[in-house]
């Protein structure tokens, strides 16, 4: 019924003042936003409450204990919380940079060259999407143990570099963003393949790389299973595993609840800040070849 646009109907696309405000869609979306913001706003308010206030004052009444909660948290086990925060930044930042580099050059090679085995390699790499993480995490731990590398930073960093979905995105993006004629022109000028990649392809791929970096950064930041299995020393924990151990230690001691709540609140800040400042790069579809602002 809507195969093609009729000529001359474009003018109707402009919202006319006589049309009603979409009350139903707006209301549904506002309800959805209230649902998603509710626990986040609760944890922010709860983190300001002192031990006594947490259980006595009404839910959304701000308390007076924020500074003492922060002081308690940073004093906990000689400030191990800071270490968790730094570790997480290291795992997520380092892992995402390496992952973006590997994905970009792989995606570029798969998109812009034709060579025997291209489809096989692509399918092998992409097939990893379907492999459940558990099938990998436990044997990865055993293999790292044999190599004497379990419970090290490497054991968390290395397995998270290869990310099938990022390679897939990088390939799609490279296909759309790099005109073959540009590479051909470079070749006629006598540029080598590596130089072409560095000087011609890389600048065109940068917006897609930012998106890949962000997705991978969040995936590693949020990962729990792999560091939970790999690490035993709490000085190497990321935030997720650290907060879990905090809860496991404090679940039956309500006096520790303030610590856990404050830690949870602080753990949200870096990612939400990254998320809000990088709005325009959060795209699930890179085939457009450009990032819209």
């Amino acid at each position: 019924m809507a195969a093609a646009a009729l000529p001359g109907t474009r003018g109707h696309a402009r919202p006319s003042p006589r049309r009603p405000v979409g009350i139903v869609p707006t209301a549904v979306l506002v309800l959805g936003a209230i649902y998603t913001l509710f626990p986040v706003s609760w944890v922010v308010v709860a983190a300001t409450k002192s031990k006594a206030e947490l259980f006595s004052t009404s839910t959304f009444a701000p308390g007076t204990g924020l500074l003492s909660n922060l002081a308690d948290l940073f004093a906990y086990r000689d400030g191990v919380f800071w270490l968790w925060l730094l570790n997480t930044a290291l795992y997520a930042g380092g892992g995402a940079v390496l992952s973006t580099a590997v994905s970009t050059i792989s995606g570029y090679a798969l998109a812009k060259y034709s060579f025997p085995g291209r489809n096989l390699i692509f399918n092998l790499l992409i097939g990893g999407i379907l492999v459940p993480s558990v099938v990998l995490a436990i044997p990865q731990y055993l293999l790292f143990s044999k190599a004497g590398l379990a419970d090290t930073y490497w054991s968390v960093l290395l397995p998270q570099i290869l990310h099938p979905y990022s390679i897939y995105l990088a390939r799609i993006y490279a296909q759309a963003a790099i005109p073959a004629s540009l590479l051909e022109a470079g070749r006629l000028d006598g540029a080598g393949e590596w130089r072409l990649f560095r000087r011609v392809a890389l600048p065109l791929l940068t917006p897609g790389m930012v998106t890949i970096f962000l997705f991978q950064f969040v995936a590693i930041w949020n990962n729990f299973l792999l560091p939970f299995i790999m690490l035993g020393d709490d000085h190497k924990f990321p935030l997720t595993v650290g907060l879990y151990t905090l809860l496991a230690a404090g679940a039956n001691q309500p006096s520790l609840y303030n610590l856990i709540i404050t830690g949870t609140m602080l753990s949200l800040i870096p990612l939400i800040a990254l998320f809000l400042t990088m709005q325009r790069y959060w795209r699930t579809d890179l085939s457009g070849g450009a990032v819209k602002s």
Binding site: A13, V102, L110, I138, V241, A251, I260, T284
Partner: protein, 298 residues
């Protein structure tokens, strides 16, 4: 030059593409192929204890055939775990993808207000780690802290719903964004023509937008099924707050317990192969059913 046009799209350059792909292939071999192979190997082995099992050489690793698989398939606790995850997964899939679809359609509807603000808000939980989300909701479920009154959210009867809520909260935004991105790519003229034909907004959503979204809905469903089958973080994090979640609540938790608490790597390996097999069967089975119903038909 015309004869070269065909190869211009994908250039042939000898060893170069292989060099460019070498890092990815090295990582694939070390951190994917090798661990998978090792899991298969372990799943076919067992420990043989001779004598009292004391002293050197009393414990030997021997070939076990499919015995570990038979044990995994015959394990009642594992099946109970599958049933729990099935109930949980059905709730999560229906609610999460249903809400994601509704929100995506509402964002794309005509005359919607506050679209940007609500879109960012609903996507926000994507930036919240599963552990943090579980901690927040876990405290909100505790009767001593809950603003929802004195309901036993973590009792045996409600814990599945409470856990599903955490996953729905965390996953709706991302799926909404996938579907919404897809909708934005549709030329607006499609809808204008339908409006001129007298179609209502609801009619446009049902008859034009949802059919356009079918491939994306299938894709998000498959990824959600794979994630749900492997549920681990939420029940593990919620466990310290309640005694209604056992250490083998989900199949993956049982694998973890077998491997690291009980120390039986061989049955853990077999069980994780079974989990992998079931998630593959579920996702491919789903794709097949959908293909036959939606695209095949004749």
């Amino acid at each position: 030059m015309t004869s070269r046009n065909k190869s211009a799209r994908a250039h042939r350059a000898g060893a170069v593409p292989y060099l460019f792909l070498a890092p990815a292939m090295a990582l694939f071999t070390l951190f994917m192929a090798l661990p998978i192979g090792y899991t298969v190997y372990l799943s076919l082995r067992r420990t043989k204890v001779s004598g009292l099992g004391l002293g050197k050489g009393a414990r030997k690793e021997i070939f076990a055939g499919l015995a570990n698989y038979a044990a995994a398939v015959g394990d009642g606790e594992l099946w109970a775990g599958w049933l729990r995850v099935l109930a949980y997964g059905a709730l999560v899939l229906v609610l999460m993808l249903g809400l994601a679809l509704v929100f995506a359609l509402m964002l794309d509807a005509a005359h919607v207000r506050l679209a940007r603000l609500t879109r960012i808000s609903i996507f926000l939980p994507y930036a919240v780690p599963g552990v943090a989300a579980t901690l927040m909701w876990g405290f909100l479920y505790l009767p001593s802290l809950s603003p929802f009154g004195d309901h036993p959210f973590l009792s045996a009867g409600l814990v599945t719903f409470s856990m599903a809520n955490i996953a729905v909260w965390g996953g709706t935004g991302f799926n909404m964004l996938v579907l919404y991105t897809n909708l934005r790519a549709v030329p607006r003229e499609y809808y204008e023509a339908a409006r001129i034909d007298g179609a209502s907004e609801l009619g446009i959503a049902l008859r034009i937008k949802i059919p356009i979204l079918v491939p994306s809905i299938i894709l998000t469903t498959v990824f959600s099924v794979i994630a749900t089958v492997q549920v681990f973080t939420e029940p593990t994090t919620l466990r310290p707050l309640t005694n209604t979640i056992s250490s083998t609540w989900s199949p993956l938790m049982k694998v973890y317990r077998d491997a690291f608490v009980t120390g039986d790597l061989y049955s853990a390996a077999a069980t994780s192969m079974v989990i992998a097999g079931i998630s593959l069967v579920l996702s491919f089975g789903f794709l097949r059913i959908v293909k036959n119903h939606a695209f095949g038909g004749g």
